[in-house]
């Protein structure tokens, strides 16, 4: 698997757009939710789809119950004349990974990456149960909240964190989300106030769960000199990697995220200190972590060795809006935006998939390209 972009053409995020993230898109279908986002992401850099060397999307047909729904979604982009196009049945962050590898190796200069998902069309818990081990686990129908609760209990039992720590994560996320016009769950509440919430599935109280979210997002990537032409401060991707853990939940230590740590190492933002073996985050001003459940942010912080100086999820994170197939790509867009708007020199974005942080992607971003700066 490719890791840091040593010797290859550097690639940058040059444009990012997202819809408002809402509980229910009743009046618009996938194409109608997506289309204004695609228009927006092009307008920000004055490009059209005819200038895209590659288009890659991420979505899940099970969300709306329509086979090949990703094909009809191309109506929002415009599929004529023929273009180079690909799709992953995954979060858009993994589609971005595919576009990133193409741009480094290839003669194309730009790529459009987008993802969309309306989680409100069915019972999301049932849909997500279908991704589990079909022999040993899925017939028992443990929904994602129950599995996350098992993980949270294991984390509490490890003695590292308490329910009050989960509430503190949620309080900070909601407060930060006040500054995010697209966020869904926001508010000024203290952790102490949130501790008054009922349990949904113990030990997870209401605030420790993500909202159910409908929405769409899009990013434009550009390689080499083209990135600098299109954007005053491109967010250069200095490394990216993704790793997956076994599907056997019992064979995993749910209180840690070894694949996040390894992806972080490969992306160049985590070093494993001598002796202790504890991961240490390096060169990260801002981290956008795709932690759908509050306790998962704590697991991810530890796996990436993020210290107190790092601003975590200034957008509000997935607790403020968790579009399935969307929230991971939004993390990359939000992290890149902190570089593009000048508030950060370096950033890290993380995306996850599967039960209890099974699969993890880490994308490192910086105001300068990696290595010798060759474009």
């Amino acid at each position: 698997m490719a890791a840091a972009s040593g010797g290859r053409r550097p690639v940058a995020v040059v444009s990012f757009a997202q819809s408002d993230m809402v509980r229910r898109e009743e009046l618009r279908n996938d194409v109608e939710v997506l289309q204004p986002v695609i228009v927006d992401v092009f307008e920000k850099v004055g490009l059209t789809k005819d200038e895209m060397g590659f288009v890659c999307s991420g979505s899940c047909d099970y969300l709306v119950g329509a086979p090949f729904s990703f094909v009809s979604a191309l109506d929002a982009v415009g599929a004529w004349p023929p273009m180079r196009e690909s799709h992953v049945e995954m979060d858009g962050a993994f589609a971005l990974y595919e576009a990133w590898t193409q741009l480094q190796e290839d003669d194309i200069d730009t790529a459009l990456v987008f993802s969309f998902g309306r989680s409100s069309m069915s019972e999301l818990g049932r849909v997500l149960t279908l991704q589990l081990d079909p022999y040993y686990v899925a017939p028992l129908w443990p929904d994602p909240v129950a599995l996350a609760a098992l993980q949270a209990r294991a984390l509490i039992d490890s003695g590292r964190y308490t329910e009050a720590d989960f509430a503190a994560v949620a309080a900070r996320s909601r407060r930060d989300a006040l500054n995010n016009p697209h966020a869904q769950v926001k508010g000024e509440q203290t952790a102490e106030e949130l501790m008054g919430d009922d349990y949904v599935v113990a030990p997870l109280r209401r605030h420790a769960l993500p909202p159910i979210t409908d929405g769409a997002t899009a990013i434009i990537l550009a390689a080499g000199d083209r990135a600098a032409e299109l954007c005053e401060r491109p967010a250069w991707i200095t490394g990216m990697d993704h790793r997956i853990e076994t599907h056997s939940l019992g064979a995993r230590d749910l209180t840690t995220s070894p694949t996040t740590r390894r992806a972080g190492e490969a992306a160049g933002v985590v070093e494993v200190g001598d002796g202790s073996g504890a991961p240490v985050g390096v060169g990260v001003d801002v981290a956008e972590l795709h932690a759908p459940f509050a306790h998962q942010e704590l697991i991810l912080r530890d796996a990436l060795g993020l210290g107190e100086a790092v601003a975590v999820n200034p957008s509000g994170g997935a607790l403020a809006a968790n579009g399935v197939m969307v929230a991971g790509l939004v993390r990359i867009g939000e992290a890149a935006s902190r570089i593009m708007d000048g508030t950060a020199q370096s950033a890290l974005a993380h995306a996850t998939s599967g039960p209890c942080l099974q699969q993890n992607l880490v994308c490192a971003l910086a105001a300068e390209p990696a290595g010798d700066g060759r474009r």
């Binding site: 279908n29 119950g65 069915s122 279908l130 022999y135 098992l150 939940l249 019992g250």
Partner: protein
């Protein structure tokens, strides 16, 4: 006022189990629980591959439990209809005696106050076991396994397959363009939408021009001819699968509407036997009578409304070798 279409999709999977999962499931019918040896570890449930290195594991099975210890648990206060128990219960990671890794299963714990890390639990077996993980209904407190109802004994043959039926109900909003097309079909009208930019015309309630990515509203509507020519077709020989209602070979044809660029694909043909369909054949639309109209499906379903398909109109064939290329 948005209209919603509710639909339930069922996934009737039949899964082959292979030698490792199959051995585990076969043992369940005999009320035995197997792990697999991986170096010093005993993995339960058994896996085909080392979860860390991916190395293939030899089929070296070890019987474990059936009694075990709760390592972690979560309380489910309001079960869904699919859950193993229909009253409040716990999902737990249970390390069976002799195992290195815990098994995920349900515990009938009575109340959450009684659940605790370190709790000893034993399986409650189904009386009739078929070789599925839910041959164990759940685990119960204590050291003594139970069997629910009369015990019909172990499977006579190794278990090689399992059924897994999942279903999901969707409630999707129907786009306005689709609704307008359905209403028009009730009056024997085939509605098209003309893109103001590229002039292309779309049928089937498609509310977007996929070339220009612009929305096509009511102001773009045009009436399409209901006569056309078959440009291509397929004869589908049905195989039996759940939900397949066809039993005889049937035709799906592509119809180019007269005087337009519009091709309607995958259309049924009516009063036209499969062995008589030809490229170039002239056909006319067939509409459902009001008595045949369903809420949202004619012969073609969705935005086609009352359009059932196409029937020969008696005109002579069109002889044009390029016709076969017109499938869109």
């Amino acid at each position: 006022m948005t209209r919603f279409a509710e639909s339930t999709i069922t996934f009737p999977y039949k899964r082959s189990l292979g030698p490792v999962v199959g051995a585990f499931m076969t043992a369940l019918t005999d009320k035995r629980i197997l792990g697999i040896r991986n170096g010093k570890d005993i993995l339960v449930p058994p896996m085909e591959w080392d979860p860390t290195t991916g190395a293939e594991l030899a089929p070296d099975f070890v019987e474990v439990g059936p009694v075990g210890t709760v390592e972690s648990w979560t309380w489910v206060p309001t079960p869904s209809v699919q859950h193993p128990l229909q009253h409040a219960f716990a999902f737990a990671l249970i390390r069976l005696d002799g195992a290195t890794t815990p098994l995920l299963h349900a515990v009938d714990g009575g109340s959450s106050e009684r659940m605790v890390e370190g709790l000893r639990v034993a399986p409650r077996w189904r009386g009739t076991r078929v070789g599925r993980i839910d041959d164990i209904i759940c685990f119960v407190m204590g050291e003594v396994p139970e069997t629910d109802g009369g015990d019909t004994g172990a499977a006579q043959e190794p278990v090689q397959r399992m059924d897994y039926h999942a279903s999901i109900t969707y409630r999707n909003p129907v786009p306005a363009a689709t609704d307008r097309a359905v209403v028009a079909s009730r009056n024997r009208r085939l509605l098209g939408l003309r893109c103001p930019r590229c002039e292309r015309v779309y049928a089937g309630g498609k509310g977007y021009c996929p070339v220009d990515a612009v929305e096509l509203g009511p102001e773009c509507e045009v009436d399409l001819p209901t006569v056309g020519t078959i440009t291509n077709f397929a004869i589908v020989t049905p195989v039996s699968y759940p939900g397949q209602t066809e039993t005889e070979p049937f035709v799906r044809a592509f119809v180019l509407l007269d005087g337009t660029d519009v091709v309607i694909g995958y259309s049924p043909v009516i009063e036209l036997p499969a062995d008589e369909v030809r490229v170039g054949q002239r056909v006319a639309a067939v509409w459902a009578s009001p008595a045949e109209e369903h809420d949202q499906e004619g012969g073609m379903g969705g935005a086609w409304g009352s359009l059932l398909g196409w029937m020969p109109n008696g005109e002579p064939d069109i002889d044009d070798p390029d016709l076969v290329n017109r499938i869109f």
